[in-house]
């Protein structure tokens, strides 16, 4: 056993393998940094090249990519407040406030260092368990998997900020959004508003970018400054590392959480960062700084999301069933290389398995090192005037969102969810619960149905179910024990004069839940039962909120409006919303590339007051960048009316 591990280690470090791993790491960093593109996009670029490569090199390349995406994506989450990929959404909550405070350096170094520890931890777990994990994974039946989704949903308690009711409603809305589309059990189209695009469900990347990125971009534009309120990055590089050592308990436990969630096939790694974050809040004695830039809020999700990769490889290697989106593609890559994942692989080619594991560990270390090295340069972006940064961010998120299903629906959904996010932010409806609900919706419903259908009600008494139920209750108790956190988005309740806008939004929630009830009542039992239960409870909650708001401004956490704090000279939200709509309208007419060029030139001229020469250079480089992306990644642009009428040359197609 030990000799196999040793020889695998030598194998990884020899010859061209390391070189290919570095190539994978480089691609992983790039797709990680670009918002919306993640491991799946990266894997898709590398797959065509692996054909004919020697097995170890090709695996090294793919693993290199898999390992560093959740390290590289930290940049955008911390520096921009935009999720770099689905894996580091929770990092935003505290990482971004730290960057605004001028502590970007500390946040980044804490994130990279804990990422590295999480990644190596995942590899160690894999080393130890790869031979014995099979019965452990098989012990998790549909019933235990359902309970794990409940445990995830229980995190909503600590992520709701000052108003628990609003947190629950936000989660319910997320659940219903996640359930929209063809029902898994029957294929009936529920909650789709008659829109065909919604039949496949809204892609996670569209929801995440809409709910976090668009409100953030508009808010920063309105402030009309640089991201960092302090002009320096801070010299916290060493401090971040010290933070990691000081909070070693959180880092290790969250690595464990990441591994476990990753190892559960079908649960999806994208909830691991939220569960880790929730855990960190629950066990903290002083919760007051969470959401305002507590370094523990960075350490927890970052150690977890890198550990996911190790965990997710367990079912991939042992059962041939991927534990996450990007391991699904890794699995495809293995099959292309002629490696058949499954129990046979572990029994007959253990050396190969250990090579994979050690590549994972080394790639994590290398990736963290590279990110450290790149940080001082990348972090400078936070000191630029935001009017120069915003058009680039908008370009990338719209382009990335379109890649979700290459349908105009992606873009419109991004805009619609962006508006929702904008108002949720304004009226103090916490957004993390919405994402948690969205991510867990499908799993919660499917596993509940499966548990009932496979096992009848006996599933309730399985030991595993009882254990997870106990953990869930304990974690909720721990979260409630010591007061609430500051995760709400500002602090303006009490001074609100005009509550009418809030009332409209609360009534919108009432309408949304009423629609859900009306819609699902038409369908058969299996389509109906789960969303109906959620919508009925949520409708009651939404009515309650509406009544409280209607009764006017009182000292209640429910009444909340950030606009109460808006400075008089501030441009309205609608103003920038119209700019976005303008970008889309231009794209709908002349296609994305031309539309974007027009938007860029106009935005830089009017908003950044850029001189004509600089304007031309920036607009030109944006178009070049888009063309390069489209060429390298074989990606299409949203087409406009012009493209439908006239045959345009690439890249204007």
């Amino acid at each position: 056993m030990l000799d196999v591990i040793g020889s695998a280690f030598v194998n990884v470090l020899s010859g061209t393998h390391l070189l290919y791993m570095l190539l994978g790491v480089a691609v992983g960093m790039i797709v990680g940094i670009l918002p919306g593109l993640g491991g799946i996009a990266g894997m898709s670029i590398l797959l065509p090249f692996i054909y004919g490569m020697d097995t170890i090199s090709a695996l090294a390349m793919l693993i290199g990519l898999l390992a560093v995406v959740p390290t590289g994506d930290t940049f955008t989450s911390v520096l921009m407040g935009i999720p770099g990929s689905a894996a580091s959404q929770a990092t935003i909550l505290d990482g971004f406030p730290m960057a605004k405070r001028g502590e970007a350096a500390r946040a980044l170094s804490a994130a990279f260092f804990s990422s590295m520890i999480g990644g190596v931890f995942g590899a160690l777990v894999l080393t130890a368990f790869v031979l014995v994990a099979r019965p452990v994974i098989l012990a998790f039946s549909s019933a235990e998997l359902f309970m794990l989704t409940l445990l995830g949903l229980a995190m909503v308690g600590v992520l709701s900020g000052s108003s628990f009711v609003k947190g629950l409603l936000s989660c319910a809305l997320g659940l219903l959004m996640g359930l929209a589309g063809a029902a898994p059990a029957t294929g009936e189209w529920r909650l789709v508003l008659g829109i065909e695009y919604l039949v496949d469900g809204i892609p996670l990347v569209v929801v995440a970018l809409g709910i976090f990125a668009i409100p953030e971009i508009i808010d920063l534009l309105r402030r009309n400054t640089a991201i960092a309120e302090v002009a320096t990055l801070g010299r916290g590089w060493l401090k971040g590392i010290r933070d990691t050592f000081r909070e070693w308990g959180i880092v290790l436990r969250c690595s464990g959480i990441g591994c476990l969630i990753g190892a559960m096939p079908g649960l999806g790694g994208s909830v691991a960062d939220w569960m880790a974050y929730g855990h960190a809040v629950q066990v903290a004695k002083d919760k007051s700084q969470f959401g305002r830039g507590d370094v523990r809020g960075v350490l927890a999700p970052e150690s977890a999301n890198n550990a996911v990769a190790g965990g997710a490889l367990i079912p991939t290697l042992l059962f041939g069933i991927p534990g996450s989106g990007s391991t699904a593609i890794f699995l495809g890559g293995m099959v292309l290389l002629g490696i058949q994942p499954g129990i046979m692989l572990v029994e007959t080619q253990l050396d190969l398995v250990y090579t994979i594991i050690w590549t994972l560990a080394i790639a994590n270390v290398v990736g963290a090192g590279l990110c450290f090295a790149a940080s001082p340069f990348v972090a400078r972006v936070t000191t630029l005037p935001y009017a120069y940064v915003a058009p680039f961010m908008l370009m990338i998120i719209f382009f990335a969102a379109y890649q979700a299903t290459t349908d105009w629906g992606d873009i419109l959904a991004l805009l619609a969810i962006g508006v929702l996010g904008l108002y949720m932010r304004r009226f103090g409806w916490p957004r993390p619960p919405l994402i948690i609900g969205f991510v867990l919706a499908e799993g919660a419903e499917s596993y509940l149905y499966q548990a009932i259908q496979f096992q009848g009600w006996a599933w309730l008494w399985r030991p595993g179910v009882l254990i997870i139920a106990a953990i869930t209750i304990a974690s909720m108790w721990a979260g409630a024990r010591l007061g609430r956190t500051a995760i709400d988005e500002g602090g303006a309740s009490g001074r609100v004069r005009d509550t009418r806008p809030q009332l409209v939004f609360a009534l919108f929630m009432v309408a949304a839940f009423s629609y859900a009830i009306w819609d699902v009542l038409r369908w058969s039992f299996l389509t109906r039962a789960f969303p109906l239960g959620i919508a009925i409870i949520a409708l009651a909650g939404a009515l309650f909120v509406a009544v409280v708001v209607f009764r006017g401004p009182r000292a209640s956490a429910i009444v909340f409006d950030t606009e109460a704090e808006a400075t008089p000279g501030m441009v309205s939200m609608g103003h920038y919303f119209l700019w976005l709509a303008g970008l889309l309208a231009a794209s709908a007419l002349v296609g994305f590339v031309l539309g974007l060029a027009l938007f860029f030139a106009a935005f830089l001229h009017f908003k950044a007051r850029a001189p004509a020469g600089r304007n031309a250079i920036l607009t030109g480089s944006a178009v070049l960048f888009l063309a390069a992306m489209s060429y390298i990644f074989v990606l299409d642009f949203p087409r406009g009316l012009l493209q439908e009428l006239v045959e345009m040359p690439w890249p204007l197609r």
């Binding site: 041939g320 499917s446 058969s524």
Partner: protein, 358 residues
């Protein structure tokens, strides 16, 4: 008989290939559109073929696989039919999951598969297996399974998984499908003991179920079988030791299966498995381009390097090229209206599936 059929196919192929005015793809990029997500079965299949096409099409073009997932392949196929030009630079790789909604008149389908030009078809098969604790040792013991309630993990009532449900029903087994499980998770549910009966397509079966059988954790019952040129089922060449479905039925009941249900089963086995993965060119593609593809693919599937690598991935099936592919797709898409009506009615009766009037 089989040889004769091959010979005939060869002759037609030869005839088709004689007036060669080969298209040239120098410096071009060919988009191989796959209406499924990256890394799924169809994607791996397409990526398996892509480098062979790039190497052997005249002019050595670049071949990129482009995934357009959604709607269980309906979205990408609709998009292809609407956008692809008949210039040989866009090709489409579909699967049984594309053919099934077409056959069941799904309202979202806006593609006419009969208009597309198939140049290659990769067949596959499937094997049904059960939990050994049920007491059956082989297909001979199917009698022992009757009357036992068995759960089965299925993707959905109108998915490709309707073929096994239909098979179990004809076999008189009391099988209760639990919907919402893709093939991989369904096998996991079987391994956990949550479901007692399951099936996998050939490559997944070889990869993941054969080790279970060796470990005594699964018992294979029967394969779907493949149709010979008389339209009769014979044993699947990948599983020569396993009886095919009709054989297993005969073992259990002493007579051959018959009736509308069985006719429907046959039709859907062909559509879902025998002609599972076709490569299509767009409607109206000029003959020289079609011929170039057919010729290239014919050369490729006969190459030792292809056969060697295909073994694991594609199973021991004859890749149908050119006229043979057209024939296979034609058979798959031609379904007896009576059988179709029966299946729709059966889906509505058993699983409350509602069909929109088209």
């Amino acid at each position: 008989m089989r040889n004769l059929k091959l010979f005939a196919a060869g002759l037609t192929l030869l005839a088709a290939l004689t007036p060669v005015q080969a298209a040239d793809f120098s410096g071009k990029t060919i988009e191989f559109v796959v209406p499924f997500p990256t890394a799924g079965g169809s994607d791996v299949w397409a990526r398996f073929f892509a480098p062979f096409l790039a190497e052997h099409l005249p002019g050595k073009p670049t071949v990129v696989v482009k995934n357009v997932p959604g709607g269980g392949s309906i979205t990408g196929t609709n998009q292809f039919v609407q956008r692809a030009k008949p210039d040989g630079l866009s090709i489409l790789g579909t699967s049984g999951s594309t053919q099934l909604p077409y056959l069941l008149d799904d309202a979202r389908v806006r593609y006419e598969l009969k208009d597309l030009i198939p140049v290659l078809v990769s067949p596959t098969g499937g094997v049904a297996y059960v939990n050994p604790e049920l007491g059956a040792k082989s297909a001979r013991d199917i009698g022992k399974l009757r009357g036992k309630k068995m759960k089965y993990g299925s993707q959905g009532p109108t998915s490709l998984d309707l073929v096994p449900v239909l098979a179990f029903e004809i076999m008189g087994l009391d099988v209760d499908p639990v919907f919402g499980l893709a093939r991989g998770p369904a096998r996991l549910a079987f391994e956990r003991g949550e479901s007692l009966i399951d099936y996998q397509t050939s490559s997944a079966y070889l990869r993941n179920v054969v080790p279970l059988i060796k470990a005594g954790k699964a018992v294979p019952l029967f394969s779907w079988g493949v149709l010979n040129d008389k339209g009769e089922f014979v044993r699947d060449p990948t599983f020569p030791d396993l009886p095919h479905f009709a054989e297993a039925y005969e073992m259990a009941y002493g007579k051959k299966p018959s009736g509308t249900a069985y006719e429907a089963f046959k039709a859907f086995v062909v559509a879902g498995f025998a002609a599972q993965k076709p490569i299509f060119l767009p409607k109206g593609t000029p003959k020289d381009i079609v011929d170039t593809y057919v010729q290239t693919l014919d050369k490729v599937v006969k190459m030792p390097a292809f056969k060697e690598k295909a073994g694991d991935e594609l199973g021991d099936y004859q890749q149908a090229v050119g006229p043979a592919a057209q024939q296979a797709v034609k058979v798959a898409l031609t379904i007896d209206p009576k059988a179709k009506a029966w299946v729709k009615d059966w889906l509505t009766r058993r699983f409350e599936v509602k069909f929109d009037k088209k």
